[in-house]
């Protein structure tokens, strides 16, 4: 899976879960202020990402640092890359 395919998969999965428009899903948007997610949503975001990429990330400290959509893209790409090595 290319990095763009990973980004597309993330965006589509989150758009479906949180009823977002794909064209508003730019890397620099805040998932809280701009996309309107809250702490309950971030719990479900982790579940959605785990389902989409078949990995476990719930206990990873970096998840708590996520602020923007770009942070999610970077985190997932890094995770997938690390697991493929």
């Amino acid at each position: 899976m290319t990095e763009q395919e990973v980004i597309n998969t993330i965006n589509i999965a989150l758009a479906e879960e949180f009823e977002l428009e794909l064209d508003e899903m730019q890397p620099d948007v805040s998932i809280y202020e701009d996309l309107g997610l809250d702490s309950l949503d971030t719990v479900d975001m982790v579940i959605v990402l785990e389902g989409a990429f078949k990995f476990k990330i719930r206990e990873e400290a970096e998840v708590k640092e996520i602020r923007t959509l770009g942070d999610i893209h970077s985190f997932v790409i890094k995770k997938i890359t690390a697991e493929s090595k």
Binding site: E19, D38, V43, E50
Partner: protein, 411 residues
């Protein structure tokens, strides 16, 4: 502590006839049946009752995702009904968070559909890792009341009565008592349920569900009729805005009716079988609270679900309490049994009957079961002056409720 008169200033209905009060009243006025055959029920092994009345035509996306994410269908129905009631009552955001508006609303159980979906996934590998954060808010017993309050930013009291088929009327009664006692100025009151095969099965296993009309769904259930063979399960939500008379007059809103009495009591004789004497006791208590004589009641809106035992017991109880020819009908023939919503949906119709002076007959009642008491059963639409009505609901688990309603005459 002050005692207040309690009036109805808003009503909302999501019923098998559609998403508004007008849809409900139109369906009743036109003597339509909301009951249909559902092929999906045939897939449930052992289920014999394949007829039901389901809600259609709603738009859940009227509710923002932030609020809808914690809702199953029953809370969606309740929230849409509450929205309609609040709009009719001209209650806006300044009153939502005043602390003077509370919620009394319940369901038979939390969302069975959600519980089924959870355990279906859980049993795959006994993992909780796929459990969504909002699961609990859909299955908790106060899901209906909490979701209404969260959606409208309501900051008053929350009551979540749960008494199966008596839930809706019990919620109205408890809301009424809150306002009478001066604890709240307004209460959103009612009930909601979502249909699940388990609901149908619950009554089917007790031989209380209609099983012989699967090929003629529009002819069942048949309250009080000799050919009735049981109840038909339904779903929906009814919500009424109750308000102190003083508050309603101060706000200058239209008053739709008045709640003047309420009684609820336990029938400990049997958890499933009704007792005619205890039903009569409940009606008498409600009349005593209303401080009126039984002769003043013009109409009884019966619980009458078309079960063999229930209809006989209730008819005998009505005959015991009312020695005059009080008019009696049940709306289950039109709507099926909408469970926790039934008390509220049927109260909404009863309020409308009082306002218009027009009684809705019992659909499908052709030949009264000779074992039912000799009553003035309403068989056809009937126009007559109406002042007081009594509304019954009786629930599995031995919970009885009776409400007394009065037409409100503006001075």
């Amino acid at each position: 502590m002050q005692l207040n008169r309690v009036v109805i200033t808003g009503m909302g209905a999501v019923s098998p006839f559609g998403p508004t009060v007008n849809d409900l009243l139109d369906g009743l006025d036109e003597d339509r049946s909301a009951v249909q055959y559902y092929e999906a029920l045939r897939e449930v092994q052992g289920l014999r009752s394949l007829v039901a009345s389901q809600v259609s035509g709603i738009d859940p996306k009227q509710i923002a995702r932030k609020h809808r994410r914690s809702m199953s269908r029953l809370s969606i129905y309740a929230t849409l009904a509450a929205k309609e009631a609040l709009a009719q009552g001209a209650v806006g955001p300044e009153l939502y968070s005043s602390g003077q508006l509370g919620v009394a609303a319940g369901s038979t159980v939390g969302s069975t559909e959600t519980i089924e979906a959870f355990f279906k996934d859980y049993f795959l590998d006994h993992s909780l890792e796929r459990m969504k954060s909002t699961l609990f808010f859909k299955i908790m017993n106060h899901s209906c009341a909490s979701n209404i309050a969260q959606t409208f930013d309501i900051s008053g009291r929350i009551l979540a009565p749960s008494a199966a088929c008596a839930t809706g009327s019990q919620a109205i009664g408890y809301g009424y008592e809150m306002i009478v006692a001066g604890h709240q100025q307004m209460m959103l009151c009612g009930g909601a349920d979502e249909l699940h095969p388990l609901t149908c099965a619950t009554f089917d296993v007790m031989h209380a569900a209609s099983t012989q009309f699967n090929d003629r769904p529009q002819q069942t259930p048949r309250p009080f009729d000799a050919d009735r063979d049981g109840m038909v399960c339904g779903e929906g939500s009814g919500i009424l805005l109750l308000e102190s008379l003083d508050s309603a007059l101060n706000r200058g809103v239209e008053i739709l009716g008045e709640v003047v009495g309420f009684a609820t009591l336990s029938d400990p004789g049997n958890i499933a079988n009704p007792d005619s004497g205890v039903m009569a006791q409940c009606m008498r208590q409600a009349l005593a609270v209303a401080e009126i004589e039984e002769q003043q009641i013009d109409y009884v809106n019966a619980h009458a679900t078309a079960t063999e035992q229930g209809d006989i017991a209730e008819s005998q109880a009505i005959a015991t309490v009312f020695d005059h020819r009080v008019a009696v009908s049940s709306l289950k023939g039109h709507l099926g049994h909408t469970m926790a919503a039934s008390g509220a949906l049927e109260t909404i119709s009863t309020v409308d009957m009082l306002r218009r002076g027009r009684l809705v007959p019992t659909l499908h009642l052709q030949n009264v079961d000779p074992r039912c008491a000799d009553l003035n059963y309403v068989r056809a639409r009937s126009d007559q002056p109406l002042t007081f009505a009594l509304k019954n609901n009786f629930a599995l688990g031995g919970v009885n409720t009776s409400l007394v309603l009065r037409r409100y005459d503006h001075d």
